[in-house]
Subunit: 226 residues, 2 copies
DNA sequence: ACCTGAACACCGTTCAAGT
DNA sequence: ACCTGAACACCGTTCAAGT
């Protein structure tokens, strides 16, 4: 307002927290967690490494901020559905897709316990759990179960993506190779894993993820007489 | 047996994978993830850094192996209870306690998706889910939900412990400081989080964890007519 | 077969000095 | 107030050389 420099200037804008975060996201997206380096970052931004420290505290701060930016967009993109239950499902799926598109987010979210990105999710989930009519005393446990589950899935998927990349495989080939390992385990010692080897490669992660959400939601009972 | 060197010799045993893993666990336990360094490790083992590479592939291999050792002990310590449901609860609690005692395990487990430690858990959980009578087609989703949830909680708790350590606080003081932050958030924008600030510091993580397990277990329906 | 330890190619972070 | 870029104190990993 008033005399502020227009913040939408399209060329050589001065360094800012936002520009740093965008650059960090780009580096993370196409290099994984190892791709984010202060040297790569400062090169991409055309500045010195030290300049970045004027705007961010340290690397962990940067990673959390980048994670938060992705979470904000994912949450904003989730339409509010007709029922609280549908809204929670949509939110969960939106996060799943965001973590799938940005494989590093699952891990970042995991390390950001109690910080902005998780607080955002707690708030969103909490509002819907309330709307569901869950008793006050049970709300926190419900929200925390949902959050932990979502973050757990995201983190595991991120790890899979990372291993696949480390071995120079695409995700599906990587899962097939894991399935192959499982298949060769002694069925005496590993009856379940051995039997599941086939399912592993075939199954739809997104559907499995949603099945877990439904399991959790199914256990939430609205408080009666209120 | 026979001519093998006695493997329980108490002094200056030669380097071995097991000795390396034990030393790694000790370093991780009292220095967190940053405490595990090839230099610290080789010093503790009285060898050169390069010697370690004869026995392990790389740092990630070492971390996964250390994690696996902890998981093996935790799983072995879990008595088989009367019912599959009770066994699953006991296993989950055993893991929770192990991850609590070794704050780095949650994070290591998270990064070990599809590898030995998680496969072990999948097998144990799977056997009990089967014993529960869950239909074949639903078993994988059930096991994966349980695993993801357990790992999610462990990872988040590990992150909390790490932040607490980084700020030089004990866990409870750290949670109180987070609760303080939540309390000062605008209740207009953060109604749920603001309301939960009190609960955060007071609540029993272990009980909340178990509540989530029960939520998941409650949704598992034995197949009928079988 | 197993171990040594110096060397390599990186990191994140700091800080005097500039504008 | 904001940026520079050299310097510092580390990393994980490799590899010729030893036994």
């Amino acid at each position: 307002m008033g005399t502020t420099k227009r913040s939408t200037s399209r060329r050589e804008e001065s360094l800012s927290r936002d520009r740093i975060i965008e650059a960090a996201i780009a580096l993370l997206d196409d290099g994984g967690e190892d791709g984010l380096t202060f040297r790569a970052l400062s090169e991409r931004l055309g500045t010195g490494a030290g300049a970045i420290y004027w705007h961010i505290a340290d690397k962990s701060d940067l990673l959390t901020a980048a994670c938060d930016a992705v979470v904000v967009r994912a949450v904003a993109a989730c339409a509010r559905e007709a029922s609280p239950r549908a809204t929670i499902r949509a939110l969960a799926l939106g996060l799943f897709d965001a973590m799938d598109a940005h494989a590093w987010v699952g891990s970042a979210l995991m390390h950001a316990a109690g910080q902005l990105p998780t607080v955002r999710l707690i708030e969103r989930l909490g509002q819907q759990v309330r709307a569901l009519g869950v008793a006050d005393a049970a709300q926190w446990a419900a929200v925390s179960a949902l959050l932990h589950y979502i973050v757990g899935v995201g983190g595991q998927n991120a790890a899979n993506a990372r291993h696949a990349q480390a071995h120079g495989l695409v995700r599906s080939d990587f899962l097939e190779s894991v399935a192959g390992t499982w298949e060769h385990l002694d069925p005496q010692d590993w009856p379940f894993v051995h039997a599941m080897a086939g399912e592993l490669a075939a199954h739809d992660d997104r559907a499995d993820f949603l099945a877990g959400i439904d399991l959790l939601l199914g256990g939430l009972k609205p408080a009666r007489g209120r």
